[in-house]
């Protein structure tokens, strides 16, 4: 299966600074078509397409919209999650830089469908250099009279990984510390300023205009049973051609990593960033889908020269730093694990440490409040399962390299 460009179809084709070039490739036809339908019909089309969220959790998009549409509220909101904080992900940056118009069109369709009058793009602090061109793109769409009863504002984040989590993100837009909220209620019923809110990833919203134009049947003709359409992957690490690649869901990992990105002598791949899964080379034929492994599509490749203890140590250091500290199992658990891995990296770890990490993992997966703490044990458990040898050689040698 080669590359298939649906989400990225205009990237490198249009001039992101000129709406005329977007209008020339059927731009805003989908929005016009949607406005000719009832909001319910639009939502039904998205439901029928089988589109699931591309921000990591894979929640059905149409269902989320329907919940927000049906929820009582004076004002409703659409939020585009452009926080992209997961380690190894950069596809949203690529999209925002190359095709802001299709995103805006997707947001406008979402706004029409749920009956929102306001949309926010929450742009991570690290992407501030994209703020100006996004503002210009929104201005051009507004000048064309294409934002009817719906406006879009950019909110600039201020640097916090956890603000990518939807409830923390909404707190941040409200001007507070970005802390994860207890749920229910969920955003579609009680979100931003307690109003019904749809929050979608950049890539999710990019699919909407194409679904409206070509129909649900076209869309769900691509992919697997429970993973429809394409996915945009961010490939980095030990590959000769790092970058952004879009493939039909269900494509084998090998095609992406070896075929497109040109990896050789692969030892392991981290799929989905710090909270994702680590798979060994012999799982290279795993399909990339929600049924198997996907996340937000970060693919970090490690060749045979890499030691997995160092990789997992760095990963847990990151999670310990970015844990928001609201719940104890995650706040303490990530610290303790990072500490143990540090000892392994110095060659001072032992069997008892491994037992401790396994026990902690169980507790965190069961009791952490949000996805960060629940998934933080993934890299530890996966590496213990597939790369036990790397831990054992650290224990035998009683020496190791501490990477900074």
């Amino acid at each position: 299966m080669p590359e298939q460009r649906v989400v990225l179809r205009n990237c490198g084709v249009i001039n992101p600074g000129s709406i005329a070039t977007y209008l020339a490739v059927d731009g805003f036809k989908a929005l016009n078509k949607a406005r000719g339908m009832t909001p319910e019909q639009v939502i039904q089309e998205v439901k029928d397409s089988g589109l699931r969220g591309r921000g990591g959790a894979g929640f059905p998009c149409g269902l989320k919209w329907e919940l927000a549409r049906n929820a009582p509220g004076d004002t409703k909101y659409v939020i585009c999650n452009a926080d992209e904080g997961e380690v190894g992900t950069f596809k949203d940056r690529y999209i925002l830089a190359n095709d802001p118009f299709m995103l805006i069109e997707g947001m406008a369709i979402a706004g029409y469908a749920i009956g929102a009058d306001m949309g926010y793009i929450y742009l991570r602090a690290e992407y501030q250099y994209l703020n100006g061109s996004l503002v210009k793109a929104i201005d051009q769409v507004r000048e064309q009279g294409l934002l009817v009863d719906f406006d879009i504002t950019i909110r600039q984040g201020a640097g916090a990984y956890v603000c990518g989590e939807e409830s923390a993100l909404m707190d941040s837009i409200e001007g507070k510390r970005g802390e994860v909220r207890y749920r229910p209620p969920f955003p579609p019923t009680k979100g931003l300023w307690d109003q019904p809110t749809v929050i979608n990833n950049v890539e999710t919203l990019m699919n909407i205009p194409q679904i409206m134009l070509n129909g649900a049947d076209w869309f769900n003709g691509m992919g697997t049973e429970r993973s429809k359409g394409t996915k945009v992957f961010s490939v980095s690490g030990d590959v000769s051609k790092p970058g952004v690649y879009e493939m039909v869901l269900g494509s084998p990992l090998r095609e992406l990593v070896e075929g497109l990105a040109g990896a050789e002598r692969v030892k392991a791949i981290q799929i989905g960033g710090a909270t994702g899964r680590i798979v060994p080379y012999d799982m290279m034929d795993t399909p990339l889908s929600f049924e198997d492994i996907l996340g937000a599509g970060a693919i970090t490749v490690f060749d045979e020269s890499r030691d997995m203890v160092d990789i997992v140590h760095k990963t847990l250091q990151f999670l310990a730093e970015e844990s928001c500290g609201k719940c104890t199992p995650c706040r303490e658990g990530t610290e303790v694990m990072a500490g143990i891995l540090e000892r392994f990296a110095r060659g001072e770890g032992d069997e008892r440490d491994i037992k401790d990490m396994e026990r902690l993992s169980q507790a965190m997966m069961l009791s952490a409040l949000c996805g960060l703490g629940q998934a933080a044990p993934n890299p530890v458990l996966d590496s213990l399962q597939h790369f036990r040898g790397d831990y054992e050689s650290r224990m035998q040698e009683k020496r190791g390299s501490v990477a900074r």
Binding site: F90, Q128, V135, G159, S236, T300, R404
Partner: protein, 148 residues
């Protein structure tokens, strides 16, 4: 002028929004002084500790004076795989400070940061809001020269 938190002016319409006001103060003053925070607390009718709580939560807000240019070198895993540690050492050598510090002339601050979303051309760094990628020791000195 410290421009790394510059945002479009229309966003300040939301007068009661603490984070927006902090971002604006950071932009104006280069950092969040105690005076700025207590004035903000007063004008919003909230406690200073609440203001401080938000100010310290976000890594792009600073309660200490910062250099004119804030260098944020990525220490994320994909950048590490591309020898970001060598880049960090060359910056330390070039400007004579360690991460967390500001040069005595107030020109540069150096920080290490998590993934900045440019792993496809790692190693990467931000100087204020400008992105620099594909860093090497040789390029570091050229890039730093462009900041006066």
């Amino acid at each position: 002028m410290n421009d790394h938190l510059q945002v479009s002016s229309s966003q300040y319409e939301d007068k009661g929004n603490l984070l927006l006001r902090l971002e604006e103060a950071q932009h104006r003053l280069g950092y969040l002084s105690e005076q700025a925070m207590s004035e903000l607390a007063e004008s919003l009718g909230i406690s200073v500790s609440e203001v401080y709580g938000v100010a310290t939560f976000y890594s792009f807000l600073s309660t200490r004076p910062q250099g004119k240019y804030v260098i944020r070198v990525c220490k994320g895993l994909p950048c590490c795989l591309k020898d970001s540690d060598i880049v960090i050492s060359s910056i330390e050598a070039a400007i004579g400070i360690r991460p967390g510090d500001t040069t005595p002339d107030g020109k540069f601050s150096l920080e290490l940061t998590n993934c900045i979303g440019a792993c496809d051309s790692a190693p990467a760094m931000l100087v204020n809001s400008e992105l620099h990628v594909g860093l090497t020791s040789r390029r570091i000195s050229q890039i730093l020269k462009t900041y006066e």
